[in-house]
Amino acid sequence: MTAPATEGSLPQQRGRLARVPSLAAFADGILITLMLGAVILWFAPAGMGRYGTYVLSLWLVTSIAVMGLNLTLGYAGLKSLAQAAFMGLGAYATALLTTKVGLNWYTSFALSGLLTFAVGLVLGFPALRVKAHYLAFVTLAFSTLIWLILRNEQWLTGGVFGLSNIPRPSLFGLKLDGALAFHRFVVIVTLILAVALWWMIRSPWGRAFTALRENPIRAASLGIDTRMYTLLAFAIGSAYAGFAGALYAPLVEFIDPSPFSLSQSFFLLLMVVAGGAGYLLGPFIGALLGVVLPEWLRVVGSLYLIIFATIVMLLLIACPQGVSGLLERGWAKLTGKGKIGKTVAGKSVAPNTGGRS
């Protein structure tokens, strides 16, 4: 995530002083990319038809969940195996609150985020007290539990028959029932959430976070409460899954337990890695590979999951920073900064992916 070195600066001088402006410049690049992407996606569905528009919206909704997991995995180095379960929690909460309780979508959206955030705190607290990798097993078991509840508690969740007729929200009195109108709504929400994450990473809070990733022991000795920060990262990451679920429910208008299974959580995690863990734009690339590409490769059908997993494994061997890392390498080669770019990438990513978890 570190920016390529500013022109003319010697590697030795790229200490604290030179690093901050270059990072800011790079981050602004991210912000511009996000804005541009939102504009393009606003108009993109033209001529794509209902289904094409739906796939685009689904891509963005998945990206939100992957963004959250990227915060957990890419920035805090924690393995959460329950992102799909958190998404399910958000989706069911929103579906129930809008259909049975009669709340409007915005309140349900906020409550879904709050619920998943709280559950994240409750799950993460005991696990992170011991060892970071215990979180993987706690979330693994949690995933199974959520799956059971969704399937067994028919009176609440409709069991395998799911919940249907989930209403779409309206904005300033405008109904967003059409595919295009709702897609544009998804674009706006995704943009807001992405910018919020971008801001979070840049804030002092996020800086502490990066310190934590780069060198946890140093961070701890500088007085950063590492446990609190990792716990918060996990909880916020989970809340993003809740937000994604709250958008997912009105998008598909019908939910059942299957998209929230353990396999889906694994799948979301692979999307983070494929896109590039620790890169703000990585989740969009990862979700593109995971959600949109299989739509184009319809012929391979159910084999897609195997192909995708194999690609991720090969990526992990060749370039653990995922597609974003590959792009960064390519960019560094193109601009003739191959050497510097590489050391920067190596420095910033090695502790992230190589730290003992």
Partner: protein, 292 residues
């Protein structure tokens, strides 16, 4: 009381299966820092491969079993180490753990697409009868599982503690650097643990599949219970994995019988949280000092 004994025996039997998986998981973790998230699929796949060999080559059961088991140990013992762990470990523990998740998806989906999406019967090597002990009807299969699993675990304990090769392996697990200085072929020892892990998975698979049937999705549950067993026992203790497996198996069986059979999968989560809160180092574990 008779009912209780029956559930207890069933719990010990499934617990022994979880213990086999958990011991393999722990061994591989100890020697190579690999957290194998595909461990459940490792137990699922051998049975599928055996059935596939029988189906493809029209082989008799014993030959099919031989082909399937040999193929599994070669691919997921040696191959896993050489093709996945070796190239990945230089990037660190986290990418490797994620790679095993990708592997679990490949194994699961591969079994579904390449073999069958439905549960298939798997031949049992003992008759599917029940016998009566103190009024409790106990399945012969459960007895066979307990006998075989404990024999295998006993054999492993003897190998690790009583033979030269086993001691070399143990030394590698405890301190690879010192082991290397002492002239132990560390690389070969690490490979050996992967082969043992695959072999234990084969034993577990052959024992459990006649009861659970061979199905691509079996690994999820078995894996989950095996991880929990490893943690409950103390994450890096082979003895702990055995105890953890039995505890998890018995608690699971009792919960299914006396609390709720549809929520038996909630048991591991509860057990895990209780252990983490009360005795985070596990039942058999020692308090671990983290080195910087």
């Amino acid at each position: 009381m008779a009912e209780f004994i029956a559930y207890l025996i069933a719990g010990i039997a499934t617990g022994a299966i979880y213990a086999l998986a958990a011991i393999g998981f722990t061994l591989v973790w100890q020697t190579s820092q690999t957290i194998n998230f595909a461990q459940g699929e490792f137990v699922m796949l051998p049975a599928v491969l055996v059935l596939l060999a029988i189906k493809l080559f029209g082989a008799p059961i014993w030959l099919g079993a031989l082909i399937g088991i040999a193929a599994f140990i070669l691919i997921f013992g040696v191959g896993f180490k050489v093709a996945v762990v070796d190239p990945m470990i230089r990037h660190g523990v986290l990418p490797l753990a994620i790679a095993t998740m990708a592997l679990s998806i490949i194994m699961k989906e591969g079994a579904k697409d390449g073999f069958s999406a439905e549960a298939q019967n798997f031949p049992s090597f003992v008759p599917t009868q029940t016998i009566s002990v103190f009024g409790a009807s106990i399945s012969l299969q459960h007895i066979a599982i307990i006998v075989v699993a404990f024999a295998v675990i006993g054999l492993l304990q003897w190998f690790v503690g009583g033979t030269r090769l086993g001691r070399q392996m143990q030394a590698t697990a405890q301190n690879p650097t010192v082991a290397r200085i002492l002239g132990i072929p560390v690389e070969r020892m690490v490979l050996l643990t992967f082969v043992i892990n695959a072999a234990l998975a084969v034993v577990a698979s052959v024992l459990i599949s006649p009861i659970y049937l061979a199905k691509f999705s079996n690994g999820e549950v078995i894996g989950l219970f095996a991880f929990i067993a490893a943690i409950v026992g103390g994450f890096n203790q082979v003895r702990g994995a055995l105890v953890g497996g039995l505890v998890v198996g018995i608690v699971d069986s009792m919960a299914a019988a006396y609390i709720s059979s549809s929520y038996r999968l909630a048991v591991p989560l509860v057990l895990l949280v209780v252990i983490i809160l009360l005795k985070p180092e596990g039942l058999m574990g020692r308090k671990e000092e983290r080195r910087v």
